[in-house]
Amino acid sequence: MRPTLPRLVNILVPVKRSIDYAVKIRVASDGKGVDTNVKHSMNPFDEIAVEEAIRLREKKSTKVDNITAISIGPAKAVDTIRTALAMGADSGIHITTPENAVVEPIAVANALKKIIDDKKFDLVIMGKQAIDDDSGSTGGMLAGLLGWSQGSFASKLEVEDGGKVHVTREIDGGLENIEAKLPMIVTTDLRLNEPRYASLPNIMKAKKKKIETFKPEDLGLDFTPRFETISVSEPPKRQGGGKVESVDELVSKMKEAGVI
């Protein structure tokens, strides 16, 4: 048997700067979005993605060559990349966009495809969705554009030496185990891991790590939005409930409310 050459895996981890999960979201005064003048941090699913990449490297069953964190966003997105570096990523890429510009999932997917084509990555680990738009589509679109396998909603990830990948996916019916080969897209679900804190010594080490900056034009990318948000409003306030004594009463109340 021919010995398989040890494969060095290059991992790309896209991270998004989104509104912090603990913030109380309010509709913006123009009714077309939400108030963004609040605390932002890395999308929690992206944190899980960074953590998984670092764990793959630590496991040593996979030979990880490089973990690159990439973010597409305004100037402040650099903080998000730095957090990824402080967690353990090796280098960063920042594609800058104007402040408050909307970058749609298809634009992100196209940008990531360009970077992957240029710099040759083997594995992309990304959050299954961002908690601000909840669109959950970038991972799938990217897999489609590249023609790569995808393992979405991963709650377990194993990469063997030689490029075989086992992904356990969380689906409505339970868990699904799939087997695929690199190159591949994996999107993370909540139960994949518990991300580490950026410890102080690592924050200091992150200062020395490099971040490459690009403008969309430099890469020949067009981020013009294809959608226009007409309006954003809060959900209707919850009405109080009531207690009923019997099933008959329940049925009559439901008829009154017009639901049956």
Binding site: S41, D79, R82, T83, A86, Y197, A198, S199, L200, P201, N202, I203, M204, K207
Partner: protein, 428 residues
């Protein structure tokens, strides 16, 4: 010409020229040194400016405190014991060697970073904050600033990575009057080691610590000029005689220590023999800023917890926080917390810049401890009955805040320190 002079006579009484000049030059007001030497800068900045690392550190400590320490606070307080997992977490995240250089295993960050860490820890648990503060601003810093290269290389790496430190100055008979300490360190006839005898009281971290900085007098006939600082490990003979049961910061161990013919090699002297008193004075200045940060964090933690409740608890048809009377009280306390925070961070930055900061540090510690008491006390009242029960955790802040006016220099000592500066400034 004529117009000008008649105008000036309306504004100021005319003095004969000789007197007019003298009145200005012999003015008794002596400007504080730092006003004269304050460098002019192009872009003045507000006190809300931090480096990227400092911001990231704040984020990390806040999350660590909320996720790891938060669930354990109540238990640690009830049992009066620090959870070892919390201490390990502090070590793992590099928070026990904040200013120590990287080649000794530390995080090589600024002093303000340590202050930020203490503030964020105190928001969740002031007991953990004081453990981290004493370890960093007293123990680590004394070794960094006064220890020889050999002493630093021997003791700092472990302190940054696995061993807790404790600072032993106070004694049963000497608190504010620190120089009246009675622990003796007799140099042996061989000249190779000292024999320590005495007791130390009110020593924080002592139950968890493995490394101790002990101040003892090598020559009582010289008065305070015999005080020397020694570094020692617990196994050299540190005996914990009693662990105090306290009103607040109960998870932070405060013990009475006994030294009974403890032998310490002469290499373990930190700094110079007989110059320990200087170390004590200078280091307590920095420690003050740390305590101020702890009090600010405590006040903010109590405030946040109480207001979250007040804006949820409904009485008379609306959240109690929305009543104007409550709003005015919130505004008053919030103003004081902000003022204390600015005093603290300004003192920290002055120290970083190498400028005199003793007066500002005393002001910060004094003010922060006063407003922390008020903020925590109000926080209980704003939450009504829930503020009074131990389960909720609000009353703990108030109990914890009392120590702020007492340790690392009582409020009266702080006031005397500030008054001394003012005397020098204004006395003729």
């Amino acid at each position: 010409m004529l117009v000008r002079s008649s105008r000036s006579s309306l504004l100021r009484p005319r003095l004969p020229p000789s007197q007019a000049l003298r009145a200005i030059s012999t003015s008794p007001i002596r400007r504080q040194v730092q006003e004269i030497t304050r460098p002019a800068i192009d872009t003045p900045l507000s006190l809300w400016n931090f480096t990227e690392e400092e911001n990231m550190l704040r984020e990390t400590v806040r999350r660590f405190a909320e996720d790891v320490i938060g669930p354990k606070v109540s238990k640690m307080d009830e049992e009066e014991k620090m959870d070892p997992e919390v201490i390990q977490g502090l070590f793992d995240n590099g928070l026990m060697g904040i200013e120590t250089s990287a080649d000794m295993g530390g995080s090589e960050c600024s002093f303000t970073s340590a202050i930020i860490a203490v503030e964020e820890l105190a928001r969740v648990d002031p007991s953990v904050a004081v453990l981290c503060d004493v370890h960093n601003t007293l123990v680590n810093t004394v070794l960094r600033l006064y220890g020889s290269k050999e002493v630093q290389e021997k003791w700092l790496p472990d302190l940054a990575t696995k061993k807790v430190g404790s600072f032993c100055l106070s004694e049963p008979a000497s608190g504010s009057d620190a120089f009246a300490l009675q622990t003796t360190a007799k140099l042996d006839s061989s000249g190779d080691f000292y024999t320590l005898n005495g007791s130390k009281m009110w020593i924080s971290n002592s139950a968890e610590a493995d490394t101790f900085l002990v101040f003892a007098n090598v020559d009582p006939s010289k008065g305070y000029k015999g005080i020397t600082c020694f570094v020692m490990s617990k196994d050299m003979g540190v005996e914990i005689a009693k662990k105090e049961k306290k009103l607040g910061i109960r998870a932070s161990s405060t013990c009475l220590l006994n030294f009974d013919d403890v032998k310490i090699p002469k290499e373990n002297v930190v700094g110079e023999v007989g110059k320990g008193y200087k170390i004590a004075i200078e280091i307590l200045n920095e420690g003050r800023i740390g305590i101020a940060a702890q009090m600010v964090g405590l006040a903010q933690g109590a405030f946040d917890k109480s207001l979250t409740y007040a804006y949820q608890r409904k009485q008379f048809g609306k959240p109690v926080g929305e009543f104007q009377g409550m709003g005015f009280q919130f505004a008053d306390v919030a103003t004081e917390i902000e003022a204390a925070r600015l005093l603290t961070y300004n003192a920290a930055r002055l120290k970083e810049e190498g400028r005199p900061f003793t007066k500002e540090a005393a002001m910060a510690k004094y003010f922060a401890s006063v407003i922390a008491q008020k903020a925590a006390g109000n926080a209980i009242e704003w939450a009504g009955g829930q503020g009074f029960v131990r389960e909720v955790g609000l009353e703990k802040y108030w109990r914890d805040s009392k120590i702020g006016a007492i340790y690392e220099g009582t409020s009266n000592i702080q006031l005397e320190t500030i008054a001394k500066f003012l005397r020098k400034e204004y006395q003729t």
